[in-house]
Symmetry: none
Subunit: 410 residues, 2 copies
């Protein structure tokens, strides 16, 4: 079945916003055997009309994003209803949920906001758990299956999983006996992953292979028959034994929190260069409070000395970015907070602060473990400030993950 | 003049790569008075034919990216020559530069690689300083101006500045005197922003209006003549005086850090429910270390009592999520770290932990200021855990921003 995507949004065509919907939809549709044949971006307003007409003439499934909101430039709903010859009707249930949402925020439901409760006759409402405008699913006669989805990714993405995916599974014919398996690989670059396993995997009959690299991790994706995937799994596990953080798509912070929770262990973090990002990632995981007790974001040296009881001499002798200070931060964070484990990061995020021996990007990462010797790693992540924080947090969480695998095995 | 962009690349439609060309081109074209009317992504291969025919029928200027390389699926050059009825001819100068490039890398120039030196008769070559495939500029008879550009951003972007921009400046008529202005609005939803200023702005002759909402902020964008934008600016500033966080696109954390740095003031944060996210945002700003000294991520109550010296009775009497505990967290963080300001957050991120009086989403945000009374706000952000953290951090940073505006004005 041919799929097309229409993204509406003047801000995309002005370069104010990057279109993340295409990537998201493509990645979600792939496992269903669906590929996007064409994608179009049109400005807010009447241009959607022509794009929708063309897409519906070519494709069996059409996704439209954006233009469902309350403002005057949001006219996707109206134009679609007009093109399909459907009247708009007030949906009481949608209106009620908008009113409840606004009541919780003590906000007034204006006439404009109420427009979002207008639904083309016969359309199915896709509830929006994270905003006011619901999505809509329409299919009339022999026309294409049409999904109208809200523009904000935080609304679209949960709606896709909750409401779009179940519909798609009814629409899309049972695909040939193909399955997909994704291994999330940490601590190796994309080309090294390919060098280790690429040739062996390509030798498996009927296996389709893909790589998706993000900062600090690579998803290795295989599509094929179950037997071929079993073979692939054996190869990946034997070649990259300590590098597979997940085969379920779980992010690294979830892997670590769930593992610690299962072991009944607790964690603290002491952060300098990551500035709270490691704590932030850990506390994104529901239930983190059973494991994560405390973060020390000791950006200033004075804070390292006071809050983490690092001796002034240690910093003046070795520098705040050093093996010795990283270990002391981890060990003191662990003992002060009384946890089983503590991670520490200290490095030079840049753009300033580098020296010849410790250039911008240098970072020390330490792990303190109750009743065991601490572990330290030095890395150099010469990149921009934000990517530096991502790479450092990945390396820190992965250091803990590997320690937990070892301790569970030992 | 109407501009359209065609991006070719199967990897974009598979979601393996984000299309960064659109953002780049849009931002470069805007100052010339050019706006992209439509953008299309097609897979590698023959699909470019239909897209190119449609775009050339509608637009005066067409950019095509990708498909100029050496592999079999790179056929942009061939299809374009065929559609315009032009023969391909070997360009000796291009071939020489490819051969020199390969010689430097001790690589062999294969027949496939040589294909990149084929140039449609009459086309102008746009040299590629960072790769082998040159760009091409074509214009025949009354057809659109057509730019074929290489797919890799590190080749396309320097080529744009060196070769495309000079051509465009000859092609594009003296621009109509249009400019763009964007106000970033905090503390209000999109529909409330429109209710406040939408009608007045739409009444300004020749002004184009757009809204882009993100969690906790709305960008209000106007395009028009300078005089119209001045009028718009007066309306926005008089109607939303305390809600404009920026008119330069600066994120809120940058606004706050830059303002504090200019005042020579320092900041600490004490976070419970945001779990390090406020510290993370602040430390994303280059130069944050001059302002931000320390973060206390006191997730466990024991950590609140020890690290922030919150009395056990205060927590047992009022609850950790309370006006009183938020104030104590902010005031103690400020006095312990010795900073001028401190922000504190304590709330229920969910999914668990809500009560009747304090449902999931309840949050108290406090700001302590040296020698001044603390300020506290209560909000209810009933949403998912990650959005809760974003909204809470926005409200906290905005509380500080507003206090800084007041203190500077007072």
């Amino acid at each position: 079945m041919r799929v097309e995507v229409i993204n509406t949004g003047t801000e995309i065509l002005l370069g104010n916003v990057v279109n993340s919907h295409l990537t998201f939809l493509a990645q979600q549709l792939f496992p269903l055997g669906l590929r996007i044949g064409r994608q179009v971006t049109v400005p807010d307003g009447d241009d959607i009309r022509a794009a929708l007409g063309e897409a519906m003439a070519r494709a069996e499934i059409v996704f439209v994003t954006g233009g469902l909101g309350p403002t005057t430039d949001d006219i996707t709903r109206e134009i679609t209803a007009e093109m399909l010859g459907l009247d708009l009707e007030l949906d009481r249930a949608v209106l009620k949920s908008i009113e409840e949402r606004f009541a919780r925020r003590n906000a007034v439901v204006t006439e404009r906001v109420q427009r979002q409760a207008q639904v083309p006759r016969g359309a199915r409402v896709l509830p929006n758990e994270h905003g006011t405008a619901p999505g809509l699913y329409l299919q009339t006669g022999s026309s294409a299956h049409l999904f109208l989805l809200p523009g904000p990714p935080r609304e679209l993405e949960p709606m896709f999983f909750a409401s779009v995916l179940p519909f798609l599974k009814q629409i899309v014919p049972e695909r040939a006996d193909l399955d997909m398996r994704t291994w999330r690989i940490t601590g190796m670059g994309e080309s090294n992953v390919e060098a280790e396993v690429g040739a062996d995997l390509l030798a498996i009959d009927g296996l389709e292979l893909g790589y998706c690299a993000r900062p600090g991790e690579v998803d290795l994706r295989c599509i094929g028959a179950p037997a071929a995937l079993e073979l692939a799994d054996q190869i990946v596990r034997s070649k990259l034994p300590s590098h597979i953080s997940s085969d379920t798509g779980e992010p690294l912070e979830e892997v670590v929190i769930h593992r610690l929770a299962a072991l009944g262990k607790t964690l603290a973090v002491a952060e300098s260069c990551t500035g709270g990002f490691v704590a932030h990632r850990l506390t994104d995981v529901p239930g983190a409070s059973a494991v994560f007790r405390e973060g020390f974001v000791t950006y200033a040296n004075e804070a390292k000395q006071r809050a983490l009881r690092i001796e002034h001499e240690l910093i003046s002798n070795h520098g705040a970015v050093s093996h010795e200070v990283a270990v002391a931060m981890a060990e003191n964070a662990r003992s002060i907070s009384g946890t089983d484990f503590a991670l520490a990061t200290t490095g030079i995020a840049g753009p300033g602060g580098g020296t010849e021996n410790k250039p911008v990007g240098t970072v020390y990462i330490a792990l303190a473990v109750r009743d065991t010797k601490s572990i330290v790693e030095r890395h150099t992540f010469a990149t921009d400030r934000e990517t530096f924080k991502v790479l450092t947090s990945q390396a820190a969480l992965d250091l803990l993950r590997r320690a937990l695998v070892t301790s569970a095995a030992g």
